[in-house]
């Protein structure tokens, strides 16, 4: 569970045991290797336990509060140097290593450089020294929080009598110190962990530590492993909204003051976008001549693969980067790249690289201007271009909540409270909120009775005088002891794009007759399968169990941390803590960050049947990034998506093809073509991995294969020598499916590319070979679906060589659909009858 921690005005004392036993080595697990193999690193117990200290310190560095301070006391140093010893003598082998200060980067370096010593020290002495130092520092700062963290392995006998101990405990209580004891391999029920072969001394010590904390109000003992795990958990920063003062007005306060209502209110954010912390930019200094040798970046090797290019470099070889904005003449050809120039903050990076060689101009020679088509309108004086407005909230009217369109909410949500200093405002405001919340209208179906129908307030919001007005709706909230509104922005007329989309459940043919059966419409069996799936995906009981064994719901925004924010924080923390980023790369994300990335187990297990049924009845298949032939008709471009304009090639050559890799607006009718055979095999879907969008569960084909000459991206069969490529790939044995699928795409392309009938014979030969392989290698469905689609394609108006099909027909049944009998001979199956196959080729 992500923790929330109070912060600020704190002195944390770390008491670190550096006795020789802390030098014992242990194998610590690292990020798994590239092939998921387990990897470990040998660390001393001290190095390992110090990770906890460094973690805490780094978090303080990030927040950068002056009032978050630390001190470090070492126990077991060879020498003795501490204020208590100075004063009273004794307290040997205890050293005040780092006095209380605000931690910084060098603090971490100093903690890093600690090593086990050759002397044994007494942690209780350390605690006493820490309490003393803390007290000295905070004597006059009574409100500060005191924390003390002891890091020890508990392997050394403690020299103490009961008086000592109770005296110490009393001090801890007196100073109200929050005490944490982190033990290396202590037994811990929370983890849970129990150390095998524990030494007697350690057992006694552990018991003692537990006894100590039992007497404290704020004390805990835990094992280091668990502590490390907890501190890696994402911490949610709680921000309190600052409230700004304004007024809510009903009616015209300018001219009809006495008839209008004014209520002093305060507003503040209810949700606020949090963006990840930014990294600082650096560059490696060139010219020093040293960076190549001194950069800690191995060339190749395991470390490099793991760290994925991360490196650690000596400070003097890197330079922090500053930024400035220059102005260059825009190249004529780039004139249309609005995006680059559009942003006035100058932070648009796309422009930078483009315009590298352009002529620089000075800002003094520039004039602000607006573009009016191709006309430039220099504007010297922008002062007229604003709408005079008055700060405040104006109530425009009320509307029923059930008429509100939820998906119009545009921005962050705001609270509106009555002024907390004015009871009169509070009373006035609460009457409106409650009336909105409890609004009732006469029940139409039941004369005389009322039915609840809450209303929203339509409120115009102006943040400051003369800032642009925003429209929004506010919803009434009436909780425990307060009534307030929550307001969210609604679109202006211009903000709403009313694109037209075809109906999903009404499909008419060209005669205007509604179709009930169509490949685009779900069938009753599809609907029933989907219903089962939706039911099995219910999250209301898919979470963990509560104390009474009832299943809780799964997922709530208040439990989901921002993955980007916390992942970047993790990386930053790791970068600060690790001693060697190449051997010890950033660990995988904490489970808390990714806990809602996968469907809950309960959903997975109970949905299996429904998912299988859906997979079968819906029969979805990925459209391979195949050749799309020029569309012949596109009546209304708006039913198509004009995502990206056509390429030049499209315009120059009506028969040119555009693979989806270049993102042409795919001709609609390709899909229709494929649609007509809903039984298209899945193999085509699994074989292409070049398509840009992710294929969530697909792994790229690990086998290297023969990629033919003139092959389209992602294909292994080239358009230059398809027959050769096909045969050699099939001979490899492991890429047959891919080869067959690719061949099915290449054949139509070479026909389309063919000058006159030049490549007809080659294409026929390709088809013959493809069919043979399909028959032998159980790719029958692939062939049949290819052939059906190809036939349709050849007969489509606009196909360059409609006569090619005549050539196919001439070859006869040996190039037709593979039928049952034929398939059976080769141990495959087909849903085509022999006569069906014959008819297909004759038709």
């Amino acid at each position: 569970m992500a923790g929330k921690e109070r912060s600020g005005y704190t002195v944390t004392m770390f008491v670190v045991d550096v006795s020789p036993s802390m030098g014992h080595l242990r194998a610590v697990e690292l990020t798994p290797g590239p092939n998921d193999e387990k990897r470990t690193i040998q660390l001393t117990n001290l190095q390992w336990a110090l990770k906890y200290v460094k973690h805490k310190v780094q978090q303080m560095i990030f927040t950068g509060r002056l009032t978050d301070q630390i001190g470090v006391i070492l126990v077991g140093t060879e020498g003795t140097n501490n204020p208590v010893s100075d004063k009273h003598g004794g307290y040997d082998h205890v050293t005040e290593y780092l006095p209380i200060h605000k931690p910084n980067a060098r603090t971490l370096q100093k903690i890093d450089s600690l090593q086990p010593s050759s002397e044994i020290g007494d942690p209780i002495d350390g605690i006493i020294v820490a309490l003393f130092a803390q007290q000295q520092h905070l004597e006059k700062k009574r409100t500060w929080t005191r924390k003390l963290v002891l890091i020890t392995d508990g392997e050394n006998p403690l020299e103490l009598d009961d008086d000592d101990l109770s005296g110490t405990i009393n001090k801890i209580i007196e100073y109200n110190v929050d005490m944490t004891i982190i033990g290396v391999d202590f037994d811990d029920e929370d983890l849970p962990y129990e150390e095998p072969n524990k030494s007697k001394i350690k057992r006694v010590n552990e018991e003692l530590y537990h006894k100590i904390v039992e007497q404290l109000e704020n004390g805990r003992v835990g094992t280091c492993e668990y502590a490390l795990r907890v501190c890696a958990e994402p911490e949610i920063k709680v921000t309190k909204s600052t409230l700004s003062r304004t007024t809510m007005v009903i009616g015209d306060i300018q001219t009809r003051m006495d008839d209008a209502i004014t209520i002093p209110v305060r507003t503040g954010k209810a949700t606020a976008i949090v963006r990840p912390q930014s990294f600082k930019k650096f560059s490696r200094r060139s010219g020093s001549g040293r960076h190549d040798t001194r950069l800690d970046k191995p060339l190749g090797g395991l470390g490099d693969k793991l760290s994925n290019g991360a490196m650690s470099a000596p400070w003097e070889d890197i330079a922090p980067l500053a930024m400035r904005t220059e102005f260059v003449l825009a190249p004529q050809s780039k004139e249309n790249e609005d995006g680059a120039a559009e942003n006035e903050n100058g932070d648009r990076e796309d422009a930078s690289e483009h315009f590298q060689d352009q002529q620089r101009v000075e800002k003094e020679d520039l004039t602000k201007s607006y573009k009016y088509g191709s006309t430039w309108i220099p504007i010297e004086d922008l002062s007229e271009n604003y709408l005079p407005t008055q700060q405040g909230l104006e109530l425009v009217g009320f509307s029923y909540e059930d008429m509100w369109t939820r998906d119009w909410s545009m921005d962050e949500v705001y609270y509106i409270f009555a002024d907390n200093a004015s009871p009169r405002a509070q009373v006035a405001f609460s009457s409106l909120v409650q009336a909105m919340h409890n609004y009732q209208v006469p029940d139409k179906s039941n004369k005389g009775s009322m039915v609840s129908k809450p209303v929203l307030a339509i409120i115009r919001k102006v943040n400051r005088d003369d800032s642009p007005p925003k429209m929004g709706v506010a919803c009434a909230r009436s909780i425990d002891q307060i009534d307030y509104l929550v307001w969210v922005r609604m679109p202006f007329a211009e903000d709403l794009r009313r694109f037209s989309f075809a109906s999903l459940d009404i499909i008419k043919d060209r005669k205007g007759i509604q179709k009930t059966i169509h490949p685009l419409l779900p069938t009753p069996s599809m609907m029933s399968a989907m219903e089962k799936l939706v039911d099995s995906y219910d999250l209301s009981d898919a979470g963990p169990k509560d104390e009474d064994g009832n299943r809780l719901p799964w997922f709530d925004p208040t439990e989901a941390v921002s993955p980007a924010v916390h992942r970047i924080k993790e990386a930053m923390l790791h970068a600060a803590i690790t001693t060697d980023i190449t051997k010890d790369p950033v660990p995988p994300p904490h489970p808390e960050i990714t806990k809602f990335f996968e469907r809950p187990r309960r959903v997975l297990s109970r949905s299996q049947g429904a998912v299988a049924e859906c997979q079968a009845v819906f029969n979805v298949s990925k459209v391979p990034p195949k050749v799309k032939f020029r569309k012949r008709k596109n009546i209304d471009g708006l039913d198509e998506d004009a995502d990206v304009p056509l390429t030049l090639a499209d315009l120059m050559n009506g028969d040119a093809f555009v693979s989806t890799a270049v993102q042409s607006p795919g001709p609609s009718h390709v899909s229709t073509t494929t649609l007509a055979s809903p039984a298209q095999p899945k193999s085509a879907a699994g074989s292409s991995d070049t398509d840009e969008p992710m294929e969530v569960d697909q792994k790229p084909d690990p086998h290297p294969m023969v990629v033919g000459q003139g092959a389209k991206p992602g294909r292994i069969i080239g358009n230059d020598h398809p027959l050769y490529d096909f045969k050699s790939n099939v001979a490899r044995g492991d890429v047959v499916t891919k080869a067959v699928a690719d061949m099915g795409q290449v054949i139509p392309e070479i026909i389309a590319e063919s000058f006159s009938s030049q490549r007809f014979d080659e294409a026929l030969e390709c088809m013959k070979v493809m069919r043979d392989v399909a028959l032998q290698e159980d790719e029958v469905d692939e062939w049949n679906s290819f052939l059906r689609g190809f036939k349709r394609l050849c007969r489509k108006s606009g196909f360059k060589h409609p006569d090619f099909w005549e050539h196919v027909k001439a070859v006869g049944p040996s190039l037709s659909l593979i039928h049952e009998a034929e398939a059976e001979e080769h141990g495959a199956t087909s849903d085509v009858s022999r006569s069906g196959s014959d008819r297909f080729i004759k038709d």
């Binding site: 006035e344 409106l432 007329a493 008709k633 004009a642």
Partner: protein, 611 residues
């Protein structure tokens, strides 16, 4: 901290989107029928009672209105997307004009990027016509007899667009006619239409149908527009427009070419993936920013900002690809800048030998590449929507919002079967009142977000599909900062209820009722500057202001009753704390600052009295 020195890797996604949407040029060719029926002016219905002389507003011909709509669109485009091109072609004119066109076609405005002169020219034509449509009929004399062959009209469009439209633009023809039976041959029309399609040019028909002159699509256009379509195919044409008002409404919908912001897979279950496209149906239409123009040359030239990163000490530039990313450690490298640091340095006197060699280990800084930083931000998820499960619709809170929603619609071109699957999913969710919870990575470079998918059935205005509503993360939710306040009696709530009753609208929030006044002002400002006209900001009506007259008319008594009751409220008046409303109001007149000062004063007095 100098913010500008920080990486803006997480550059606002909204900005990206805005760029995507405005990066592609759009070209519209208005193709307007100028036959005599289009010029026909419907006589004003005799008002009957002659006394009430309403405004002498003449009806305008369809042709007149078509030109006016074209001008309106041009005026908006020239400011919002200045790189777009527009042209106007008339057909069925007596005269032929333009080198690329065939007989009875009249190229009123070749396809080109707009500018002030073109707008002025169109304005002149329409000004001249004023409210008298017959002037236009004389200017663009209709051809007598039969309509010009439609195939030829399409061919003219093709040539006109080929000459004028930028190669990379989206090209669309807004085809406006009221003649359902032009008496042309279907064959050539189909062929020419296919030619247009082959060029990637879309024809969007606006068929005007009126009571007197109903437009029967089956007489000619049904076959032309679906020519060659297979039996099974979906009817591609839109319905006819009843009257010109509907043409304008329809044109508004089509004014912006429909563009998706992304196309990604929707993973419903393992091995059960469909394709969807995302659209920003609710996106802030911002004022275009001003740009810099270089004015020293002979002609002005556009200037682009270029960001340069450099090593401050050595004054050397670093190219973007070589930038490395590290953390800020809270200190500078130079030693001894911080007093407290120095003190610490001196105080540390480790005596053991192991501890004395502190400084021998050279300190190193960890640096990441841009790719790594990206992988941290994206969690290495590829773009896609992963459906996690369903909840009841009631679980979507008003407060669960941080940014605008995205609309998703199936993409049959990415996965065959997407549409039927999507339709089944949508239908089931609506039947069962369910909303989906999904993990969404919209683009290659974007961070994952959790979204609710709320389904929407097609109604008159709403498209069918799911709306993805990005949910706030735990980090983004803020607790109410106030938890206690005085409350009213039920008498005052009753008074407030009466007030609400008087001020409740019959409809929900209607965006169309609230055009953005700042935007309107901006358009007027730029247009006035561009065309050399007077800028009259006072003519801009701010429709976002409440309709005071109606409020006071309807709710005046209710407001008074509420105010009287407020004066009777014990909670509101039994303390000496807080300013009296009347006083606040009095102070309000003196201005906001006065009010603030006064409130401050009251608080101060209160403080004094409590001590």
């Amino acid at each position: 901290m100098d913010e500008s020195k920080w990486v803006n890797l997480d550059a606002d996604e909204e900005d990206d989107e805005y760029t995507i949407l405005s990066a592609t040029k759009d070209t519209i060719l208005f193709c307007i029928d100028a036959s005599s029926s289009m010029h026909h002016v419907k006589p004003i219905q005799d008002p009957g009672t002659g006394k009430q002389k309403k405004k002498r507003k003449k009806n305008k011909s369809h042709f007149h209105q078509a030109l006016q709509s074209a001008l309106d669109i041009m005026k908006r485009k020239v400011i919002i997307s200045p790189n777009d091109s527009v042209g106007i072609l008339l057909f069925n004119t007596d005269e032929k004009k333009g080198p690329e066109v065939t007989a009875n076609n009249y190229l009123l405005q070749p396809v080109s990027q707009l500018n002030a002169d073109l707008i002025l020219r169109m304005m002149e034509i329409l000004d001249e016509a004023g409210s008298d449509s017959t002037i236009l009929e004389n200017k663009f004399k209709p051809k007598s007899g039969l309509s010009a062959p439609i195939g030829e009209v399409f061919a003219s469009c093709n040539h006109v667009l080929r000459t004028g439209a930028p190669k990379t633009a989206i090209k669309r023809i807004f085809y406006i006619t009221d003649e359902d039976n032009p008496g042309s041959l279907e064959g050539p029309a189909v062929k020419r239409l296919e030619d247009l399609a082959a060029q990637g040019i879309a024809l969007i028909p606006f068929f005007i149908s009126t009571e007197d002159r109903p437009f029967d699509i089956s007489r000619f256009y049904a076959d032309v527009l679906s020519g060659g379509a297979e039996e099974d195919e979906i009817s591609p044409f839109s319905d006819v427009c009843e009257g010109f008002d509907q043409v304008i409404a329809e044109m508004k919908i089509r004014e912006m070419p429909k563009r998706s912001v992304w196309s990604i897979p929707l993973n419903i279950a393992d091995n059960f993936v469909i394709g969807v496209k995302g659209y920003g149906l609710v996106t802030e239409q911002r004022k275009p920013n001003y740009r810099w123009m270089y004015t020293q040359g002979e002609t002005g030239a556009e200037v682009a900002p270029r960001t340069v990163y450099f090593d401050e000490e050595q004054q050397t530039e670093t190219s973007k690809s070589e930038i490395l990313y590290g953390i800020d450690m809270g200190v500078v490298r130079s030693e001894g800048s911080d007093n407290e640091d120095n003190a610490m340095e001196e105080d540390v006197k480790p005596k053991s030998t192991e501890l004395s060699n502190l400084a021998t280990e050279p300190s190193r800084k960890v640096l990441f590449t841009a790719d790594q930083v990206k992988s941290f931000r994206t969690l290495e998820l590829s773009p896609g929507i992963k459906l996690l499960g369903f909840k009841h619709r009631s679980e979507l809170q008003f407060e669960d919002n941080v940014k605008h929603a995205y609309f998703i619609y199936p993409d049959e071109k990415a996965y065959v079967g997407s549409t039927r699957t999507f339709a089944a999913l949508l239908g089931t969710c609506l039947d069962k009142d369910r909303i989906g919870i999904a993990l969404v990575t919209m683009r290659k470079n974007s961070s994952p977000a959790f979204c609710r998918e709320i389904g929407r059935q097609r109604t008159q205005l709403d498209p069918p599909g799911f709306h993805l509503i990005p949910l706030p993360f735990a980090d983004e939710i803020r607790e109410p900062p106030l938890t206690e306040a005085a409350r009213c009696s039920t008498d005052l709530t009753d008074a407030a209820t009466e007030l609400i009753k008087k001020m409740t609208l019959k409809t929900g929030y209607q965006p169309d009722a609230f055009p953005n006044p700042s935007l309107a002002l901006h358009y007027a400002f730029v247009e006035a500057n561009a065309l050399g006209l007077a800028f009259e900001p006072e003519n801009i009506v701010d429709h976002t202001l409440p309709n005071y007259d109606v409020i006071h008319d309807r709710a005046g008594p209710a407001i008074q009753a509420w105010k009287e009751q407020l004066d009777n409220e014990r909670e509101a008046n039994d303390t000496d704390e807080g300013p009296d409303e009347a006083e606040i109001r009095a102070r309000f007149e003196e201005g906001e600052d006065q009010l603030r000062k006064y409130i401050k004063f009251v608080k101060w007095v209160k403080k004094l009295s409590t001590h």
